[in-house]
């Protein structure tokens, strides 16, 4: 189980999950009405919840994704991302049980149905996010790498976040 403590595995996972969430958040922020439409398609929520979710969730996604990429507040970011993923997986599962043929609304401009494939992808992302949460020791991050390679600073103790 040595690989669980590999710094570069941690960094790769953080960057992978972070980039996916930033990539998902930006179009939603630019087109919040599109996201509201996707949430409405689940036919589960009243108007105020649709509006609030469409306004706030993309920003939580963006901030959490950026935090993972930069390696700042990694545990909080991965906990938020895990929570969002559990919600997405539940919604996709409920939609499948109800037989709804709808776009999951994960990425605006990319057709991705709320089906088993989407659930499996989200479960993989959830596992990655939980791994970051439980095994994170924030020894390595983009911020630290920049400090290491740009400033040639060999004493990282003070840079620990």
């Amino acid at each position: 189980m040595k690989f669980l403590n590999n710094d570069y595995l941690h960094l790769t996972l953080q960057l992978f999950v972070g980039v996916i969430f930033v990539y998902s958040a930006v179009p939603h922020i630019l087109n919040s009405m599109g996201l509201a439409s996707s949430i409405y398609n689940y036919k589960l929520f009243p108007s105020p919840i649709i509006g609030l979710s469409a306004a706030v969730i993309p920003w939580i996604t963006l901030l959490s994704g950026l935090a993972l990429i930069l390696g700042v507040k990694v545990r909080a970011a991965s906990l938020l991302i895990s929570t969002l993923l559990v919600i997405f997986i539940s919604l996709a599962g409920i939609s499948m049980i109800r037989g709804l043929d709808i776009d999951c609304g994960c990425f605006i401009g990319i057709i991705r149905k709320a089906n088993w494939l989407a659930v499996c992808e989200d479960v993989l992302l959830l596992l990655g996010s939980l791994f970051i949460f439980f095994f994170d020791r924030t020894r390595i991050s983009l911020v630290l790498l920049i400090k290491k390679f740009v400033f040639h600073n060999k004493n990282y103790k003070g840079a620990l976040l």
Partner: protein
């Protein structure tokens, strides 16, 4: 005790972050959510106003209907018909309504006297529409869940390709029909 790892980054011997606590993590989460509420609230003020005064859903439905109309007519040359135009055709038994949703959804509730042609089975060739709908000149109105549901578009396209000349799509779908209080079978 802090040690250097193979990758050149410091490690403590316990392999655990010294400052980890649930309280800190929850506090950080609340900061993230607070900032998100602030930014999302300010930048989406008009959306939130619509959401709380109840006009958001009708706006979404209008947008979805417009998208469906443009997609169906531009891509496949199929017209979208609205509830107001479809109801007289139903009342005078001029049109045949085709439910494109799954059999499970059809059995839960459907437009009264509609026939079921589930999208998936139809596209896989398991259903021969010629046996169910022998008259190629009949007026057919396909429907599904309305909004962004594309099952009705797929079935309408398939029927049109098989020589049916009068195929339309009910824009509001089954939810719109049911909400208007029109006849349904459950």
């Amino acid at each position: 005790m802090i040690q250097q790892t193979k990758t050149g980054f410091p490690s403590d011997s316990s392999n655990k972050h010294p400052s980890f606590s649930w309280r800190l993590v929850i506090k950080d989460c609340l900061y993230f959510v607070g900032i998100a509420i602030l930014l999302g609230g300010v930048l989406n003020y008009s959306l939130l106003v619509k959401a709380f005064n109840g006009t958001l859903i009708s706006k979404i439905q209008q947008n979805q209907l417009a998208n469906l109309k443009s997609k169906a007519s531009l891509l496949y040359g199929i017209s979208v018909i609205d509830l107001v135009s479809a109801k007289p055709l139903y009342d005078e038994k001029i049109a045949i309504f085709v439910d494109a949703r799954t059999l499970q959804e059809y059995s839960i509730g459907h437009i009264s006297e509609a026939i079921s042609i589930p999208d998936r089975e139809f596209l896989m060739g398991q259903i021969d529409p010629g046996k169910i709908l022998p008259d190629k000149e009949a007026i057919l109105i396909t429907y599904c869940d309305g909004g962004e549901c594309e099952l009705a578009v797929d079935v309408a396209k398939g029927l049109s390709e098989r020589g049916y000349n009068n195929v339309f799509i009910l824009g509001e779908g089954y939810p719109g029909w049911e909400a208007a209080g029109y006849p349904v079978d459950k």
